[in-house]
Amino acid sequence: MLRYLLKRLLFMVPMLFGITLISFVVIHLVPGEPGALNAEMNPKMTKQVRERMRAFYGLDQPLHVQYWMWLKRVVKLDFGASFTPDKRPVIDKIKERLPITILINLLSMALIFLVGIPIGIYCARYKDSILDKALTSFVFAGYAAPTFWIALLLMMFFGVYLELLPISGIKSFNFSDLSFFDKTIDVTKHLILPVSISAFGGLAGISRYMKNSLLEVLRQEYITTAYAKGLPESMVLKKHALRNALLPVITILGLSVPGLIGGSVIFESIFSIPGMGQLFYMSVMARDYPTIMGILVIGAFLTLLGNLIADVSYALADPRIRIG
């Protein structure tokens, strides 16, 4: 097992290298240059000024030299400074945006599991009942409907008409004047819509997964045996069927790890949440290479790590799978 782990970890190094190389080349292929230079069609931007700025950011070097300079810094875990005019360290930019994204993703993931799993169980147990069909339609509606559209409708309904919930942002103006209790309420109110809407879209996957997995298990002979020895239905479901059916669902958790730091652009823009999705989008629009690369490297690392965790936990949970 230990040898397997080490091997997998070692394999991650060339993989990460490959990912960074490809991403680096691809983002430099995109037409346009970093934001500060992107004063296209600006009469004040003379040719000398343009050349000066290119040299300032090292963009006058050939691509492989740029990549080498970047790589030398990254192995020391230094992501460099952003190419946008604020020129702040990339790591600071990521750090200040990460908590809110992780919070929202964790909450919505919890909500998805808490709501999706019971829905799946119900749908499997009472397959083809009216409620099963209704729930299935409901989760698929959530999956299919565009988030921005639902978000705007709910914002109008709860924000403008009922005036119950705030429309955007994560804190009110008078946040600092509030007591601790009111602050909690304030943040909660701001989070209700974003969290529930992002969870709504994810319900379909997990509930279908749960349903199919449970149906599969319910067909097994040991379930028939359990019924035959006279166990009550709730016992059969809880003790025998559910435990086995939950195994594959748990591995999904491992696969969701990289998703935790990725925010949705559309979603964060609509609710004006200063999170990772927006940061990434803005960096791409501004051709802010160091920030793009920073986010990609962290994302790639977490994806690889998440895969590893998923594989390992699978092996741990299911003795039939052998590795190493």
């Binding site: 346009g32 934001g35 005019p85 914002m155 955007s168 103006f173 927006q278």
Partner: protein, 544 residues
Amino acid sequence: MLSRYSLIFILLVFLFPGCSQQKGTTSYDDPGRPAYGDMIVMASIGEASNLIPLLSTDSASHDITGLIYNGLVKYDKDLNIVGDLAESWDISKDGLAITFHLKKGVKWHDGRPFTARDVMYTYGVTVDPKTPTAYAGDFQLVKKAEVLDDHTFRATYDKPFAPALISWAAAIMPAHLLEGKDITESPLARKPVGTGPFVFREWVPGDRIILAANRDYFEGRPYIDRYMMRVIPDSATMFLELKHYGIDMMDLAPLQFLKQTDYPRFKKEYNKFKYLAFLYTYLGFNLKHGLFKDKRVRQAISCAIDKKEIIDGVLLGLGEEATGPFTPNMWAYNGSVKRYPYSKEKALALLKEAGYEKGPGGILQKNGSPFEFTVLVNQGNTVRIQCAELIQRRLSEVGITMKIRVLEWASLINEFIDKRNFDAVILGWAITPEPDPYDLWHSSKQGPKELNFVSFENKEVDELIVKARHTFDREARKRYYGRFQEIIAEEAPYVFLFYPYATVAVHKRFKGIEPAAAGLMYDFIKWYVPENQRRYTTNAALSP
């Protein structure tokens, strides 16, 4: 289990409303008396990037720094150049030297006095090759800059240069905080110190920037105590926030201005303003392209396009027909140039004169090749795309096939405009109130990345532009620019489509707003909220 908890949770939330704003109860029609207090909440699609104005080019940063810093001169409400940090200035007889007499007793926000040394530093750092700034161009023409005494500063030029004066509207930076340091590493980028009417307070990254009134401002303390700029990246959300009273001021799209805000509750709470912006949208021809070398063809297309239809259909009437490269609110504007009223017959006659005949299917032909070209438009700009569609239809009526190609901004500029690889393009220019058409229309400005990308060449225009640049006599400049506009109208290198209106909603509790040629914000420090209509108490905006 779950539903029970979530019910309690929801109840908890709704039972304790965290914050509530005063709204809908007071009448805002009473003009009241000027009073100090309250806060104005603005919104911006993008976040400010760098609060050292030399180093940023985005509008969010400049909106903020415009309130924190001053230049030596500024525009007044009628777009005359008046003193800001400069009390007065003299221009030497030969027009080569400008001597600024600076205001005395002006203090930086940290209490240090403002002197000519600050001006000198600002000039020096702007032209320093190590500074990555987009604004070095105008200052590079200065031959010699000198500090005569603490409150006198002189800039000397090689040639008299009329746009020089307004180039001193650039924000003056505090020398005592920056001298001898690398400006790109300065903490002032996130925590500016200026001389302006507002003092920097707080920046919550990705969320908001807060400024507070400068009580010692040399033109008097602003009535509004606080200024907040929120980042709201989605324009639909921004509009909902406006309807919800979450923000106080917003630029509206034509449909929002005319229809979506046309209900009593909105009108009770907001004033809407419309004024001419310094913008125009045009259809530009690549004059190197065979089709458009002939002036008559360009004039014919000008006649074939119905500008009124575009303004009514695309802008819902919120714009004026454009006649040339200057807007009507500029002193240099010449309204009596040649116009091209919509006339299909005239267009056909001109095209016939140029040698085009109707061929099969009503398509115009010359020597067997059909009249066909592609117009480029940038993605996401619905107004320009809709213009292209209307133009397409009008041109097909005279037998011209126009294709529309929508491209992402960066590739439109880099791959097509910069390489001169286009037939025609729909774009817009934002211009400065102080005219200087040199970069756009002088024939020397056709190099790569330069802005005369339509390759316009006209000897007389070149001369007029240069002459107008090198005299400070406004009457003479007006004559030169008048003639310049006549030639441009006659030559029709662009079809000037329209001047759009800026359309803005401002909450009614703000009084003292007078739209003028310079827009709305020129005397922001005089805006006030009467005491009985105040919404925010003093500390409301600061986070711990």
